[in-house]
């Protein structure tokens, strides 16, 4: 029987996603190097420690701009409704492999992750600019820079932990990675994990 597929992400959306993803990995590696002395050698991802310090913020700006594009693509799909609250309250059931609620394009967990990422990105951008030498840090008082460095590290920790969950969820729910690589999902995938979205896409009632 021929596999029935639904387009979930266009080529432009996939490229957008992977720009953010590659930037994130480079930033997380170099950022952890600045944060943990024992991992300082990870600055090698950009060649030398000095280069890592210079390049990190520029990559950060690229990631933010690319993420901002994603924000405008997806924010209206991520408004939290009562189904999502139900999903979040039943997260244990979900984790045992059973679907909860009449989920649309995104479930409660994905929406929560979306807003967590938005918050972290915003904090990282603002605090990153404040701490950015030699261009911007000089315009801010030292106590403000200290707060920015603390906030930057906090937000980065939140984002890294969040992305680990994001990547794991994609790996756990089989057929998901294909959506962001090939752009398509099977009808069975859509029907099981995003039934309301499945009906919207196919016009079917069941």
């Amino acid at each position: 029987m021929k596999e029935q597929l639904i387009q979930r992400y266009s080529a432009a959306e996939r490229i957008n996603h992977w720009i953010v993803a590659v930037c994130f990995i480079l930033l997380a590696i170099s950022g952890l190097a600045f944060f943990y002395p024992a991992f300082f050698w990870l600055t090698g991802v950009f060649g030398t420690p000095q280069l890592a310090r210079i390049v990190h913020p520029f990559v950060g700006v690229i990631m933010f701009v690319a993420f901002a594009r994603q924000f405008f693509r997806y924010w209206h799909h991520n408004l939290i409704n009562s189904e999502d609250i139900r999903w979040m309250k039943s997260v244990r059931t979900v984790l045992s492999g059973h679907e909860v609620g009449d989920t649309g394009k995104y479930n409660g967990g994905q929406k929560g992750m979306f807003w967590l990422m938005c918050a972290c990105m915003a904090v990282l951008l603002v605090s990153g600019f404040i701490a950015w030498r030699p261009y911007f840090a000089g315009y801010f008082p030292i106590p403000v820079i200290r707060l920015a460095l603390l906030a930057h590290a906090w937000a980065a920790t939140g984002l890294i932990a969040g992305i680990i969950v994001h990547v794991y969820a994609a790996f756990w729910v089989k057929g998901t990675i294909r959506a962001m690589v090939e752009g398509v999902v099977t009808h069975a995938w859509a029907k099981k994990h995003h039934p309301r979205w499945y009906r919207e896409m196919t016009g079917k009632q069941k």
């Binding site: 029987m1 029935q4 190097a33 600045f34 944060f35 943990y36 002395p37 024992a38 300082f40 600055t43 420690p49 000095q50 890592a52 310090r53 210079i54 984790l95 045992s96 492999g97 059973h98 679907e99 909860v100 701490a131 030498r133 030699p134 840090a137 030292i142 106590p143 820079i145 200290r146 707060l147 460095l149 603390l150 590290a153 906090w154 920790t157 939140g158 890294i160 932990a161 969040g162 680990i164 969950v165 794991y168 790996f171 756990w172 729910v173 089989k174 057929g175 099977t186 009808h187 069975a188 995938w189 859509a190 029907k191 099981k192 994990h193 079917k204 069941k206």
Partner: protein, 300 residues
């Protein structure tokens, strides 16, 4: 350098201990503000010895020149006009690195070996390892380190670590014409300070005292102040300097919390997968989706 490296007690961003076998005498520079005449010979000596030349600036209406510390000015005289005891006082303070026993710069620095602390108390920057992030500026309670606009490396007073390592006093000490700057073991400098403080007290400075702030574990540059109760009068010398709580949270508390958070996310995924296993669309669903007419009952 090989032998001198034995005298390094702490390196920035280095989780394991430095060699501890050798013990050297703890040294200190004592700046007696009450005998300083503001001649700036120390600034010139510093510039000469270290081969650094700040650009000639502009007169801003006071004697301060250069007006601030920079990558090319590791010590500057700060002139403050203050009223106390019902008269005008001209308080002159030689500003520069205090060489804290608990250095905020070293705590904040992310680059291994870019900031080192010798067992004699000197805190030194190794610019070859400096990455120019400016974390030391955030760590310092005295606002001392400066990043060069030419090479993006941080600079500050070395306490003439090169001279001290061969048994000489720092250049500023050598040149001071009034003896307002002295150098020796920290114990000796405290004794000298005690004598000066006692003398100042007999001259009507009841609050004279030694500035050796314990919030940073004491410093290896100390001041004799006529108004030790109000150090802020001396161009903003902090009263109770300590490494900022923000920096402590960032460089202290957050590290274990972040480790736990990131590890928890990773471990959760691992154990979830090996216990619950992958989440696949059921074969029934595949069939049902392919053939909408087929019966479908397993709605959760």
């Amino acid at each position: 350098m090989a032998l001198q490296s034995l005298d390094i007690t702490r390196r920035s961003a280095s989780p394991t201990a430095s060699p501890q076998a050798r013990k050297t005498i703890e040294i200190a520079k004592l700046i007696d503000v009450s005998t300083c005449i503001g001649c700036k010979a120390c600034q010139v000596a510093c510039s000469e010895w270290n081969d650094i030349r700040e650009e000639v600036g502009h007169n801003i209406g006071v004697y301060d020149n250069p007006t601030d510390l920079s990558a090319d000015a590791w010590t500057v005289m700060r002139f403050a006009e203050e009223e106390s005891n019902g008269k005008l006082e001209w308080l002159i303070r030689k500003d520069g690195c205090m060489h804290c026993a608990d250095p905020g710069c070293l705590k904040a620095c992310p680059s291994p070996g870019a900031i080192i602390q010798y067992s004699n108390g000197i805190v030194d920057f190794h610019q070859e390892n400096c990455i120019g992030c400016g974390y030391c500026i955030s760590g310092c309670p005295f606002n001392v380190p400066r990043i060069s606009q030419k090479d993006n490396k941080a600079y500050k007073c070395t306490l003439c670590s090169d001279r001290v390592s061969v048994g000489q006093e720092p250049a500023c000490v050598k040149t001071c014409p009034t003896g307002a700057i002295q150098f020796g073991s920290k114990e000796d400098m405290k004794d000298v300070a005690a004598t000066r403080v006692a003398d100042l007290k007999t001259r009507g400075y009841a609050n004279a005292g030694l500035y050796d702030p314990q919030g940073v574990g004491g410093t290896h540059v100390m001041y004799v102040l006529h108004h030790a109760d109000k150090p802020e009068q001396y161009s903003g010398l902090p009263k109770d300097p300590a490494i900022s709580t923000t920096v402590q949270l960032w460089k202290g508390w957050l590290k274990p919390l972040a480790t736990i958070g990131i590890a928890a996310a990773g471990l959760f995924g691992f154990f979830h997968y090996i216990t619950v296993g992958p989440n696949r669309p059921d074969d029934d669903d595949e069939h049902a989706a392919a053939n909408p007419a087929a019966k479908q009952e397993d709605k959760a």
